[in-house]
């Protein structure tokens, strides 16, 4: 295979990590909404935790994106 083509395929494959980030972020916000609708008074106190969870879930996916960028431009 042409090495250039392999590089692009590899970068595309590395972006698969973002699937997990998508699932994770959706899960966190979905669970937060479900919890917030059941007990709205407790929702604001958990907002910071929500964002932390969001950030942590997103980070794992972004590592994959970073690998893709390193492959493409590194």
């Amino acid at each position: 295979m042409d090495p250039q083509a392999a590089k692009f395929i590899g970068a595309g494959l590395a972006c698969f990590a973002l699937i997990g980030a998508g699932i994770g972020i959706g899960n966190i916000f979905g669970s937060y909404l479900a919890g917030a609708l059941r007990n709205p008074s407790a929702a604001p106190s958990q907002f910071t935790n929500l964002l932390i969870g969001f950030a942590l879930a997103e980070a794992t996916g972004l590592f994959g994106l970073l690998i893709a960028l390193i492959i493409l431009y590194g």
Binding site: F54, A55, A59, L62
Partner: protein, 249 residues
Amino acid sequence: MAVEGAGHHGPMEQFEITKIVDLDLFGHDISFTNSSLMMVVALGLIVVFMIFAMRRRLLVPSRIQSVAELSYEFIAGMVKQNIGPEGMKFFPWVFTIFVFILVLNIFGLIPGNFAVTSHIIVTFALAIMVWLVATFVGFWKHGAGYLKLFAPEGVPIWLMPIIIPIELTSYLIRPISHSVRLFANIMAGHTMLEVFAGFAVLLPWWGKIAPTGFMVAFTGLELLVAFLQAFIFTVLTCIYLNDAVNMHH
């Protein structure tokens, strides 16, 4: 920007660093670049805004004064909630980090401006500073006892050989995840805007409407991301400091 000379500019060209003033320090290139210029401008604006907003300290704040007060209380609340009253020692530093990143993020969204936080070296420098300060504070406050952070209480002893390397890795990887999150969010957002700007330029007139509308909506979302990422960076700074000051509470 992709707007000039359609098709000849890639979406990554907006991140190019250009030298404004050539400087050389013992063989190291420390030129004043467009990135440095944006940082200086942002810093100057923050300082001027804060001094101007607080120049007349009214009991009933004027509009501009309440902006300064709100941002102060926002971060002060975050610091107190995450680290406790002891954490107010770190407040000026945490506040500076927040405002600096927020202003740089929002500045980068103005078309034609250079997005400083889209370069990993900038965010990594900030993140490694946070990590070094947190580690230093931890060892300074707890001495060698700070190493207990890697061996959580209540974990059965036979699990320790697995837990300690995991905790150690997650601690050492903190500056990387901390910086990559900010950098990747800003960079991905700007690349996306540029790609859709390219569509808007290249397509015939009937195709321009959808990408232009998408860009307007996406710029709004990017504004949210700019704030959210500055906020998350600051919250994580507080959490790392909390680990150092209070050790798992």
